[in-house]
């Protein structure tokens, strides 16, 4: 399992706002650090 200092696994997920695919690596390449929060059913 990866941890701090490792490369983050890339993914593509659909945006709930506009339905467009969002890819982690493209966001990072555009110069944005990413805070990734995995929600539960109660948030």
């Amino acid at each position: 399992m990866f941890g701090v200092g490792d490369k983050a696994p890339d993914f593509t997920l659909k945006s709930a706002t506009d339905g467009e695919p969002v890819t982690l690596s493209e966001t990072l390449r555009a110069g944005h650090p990413v805070l990734l929060i995995f929600l539960r059913h109660l948030g």
Partner: protein, 133 residues
């Protein structure tokens, strides 16, 4: 997330994108985000494939025990609305911070539903990498 939303202006200054990954129904999740913090980006992972990719496990035992049920009761008493169970109640959450080189700078996998890092901790890491790209 509601606490984090108070820092949305600073997060924008730091150029940080906040992705909220959800496996519950999009209608429900969208309404929830609209109530809490609309500038954050909500992403759908209905199959929970990205949860698994990031090493987030499931545990019914750690989800439905006295401590957790009591924490929900306290939330309801504090005014939080009960919306019922949406999707997989055993799925654990997690929080990750990734710098622009694609390197994980913070990783937190929840042991139970109440186990999340503080907003203070997240902001500390984000400020550090924001000033050191």
């Amino acid at each position: 997330v509601a606490q984090l939303c108070q820092f949305k202006d600073e997060l924008e200054r730091l150029n940080v994108k906040v992705f909220l990954v959800s496996f519950s129904s999009m209608g429900y999740a969208r309404r929830w985000i609209d109530e809490v913090c609309s500038p954050f980006h909500l992403l759908a992972d209905r199959e929970q494939a990205t949860y698994k990719l990031y090493g987030l496990d499931s545990s019914l035992l750690r989800t439905w025990n006295f401590k957790i049920i009591w924490s929900y009761v306290k939330l309801m008493r504090a005014g939080r609305k009960w919306r019922g169970i949406q999707g997989d109640s055993a799925q654990m959450g997690g929080d990750f911070i990734i710098n622009t080189d694609g390197i994980v700078r913070f990783a937190y996998r929840s042991h139970d539903p109440t186990d999340r890092p503080s907003v203070k901790t997240l902001m500390k890491v984000l400020r550090r990498i924001g000033g050191n790209q």
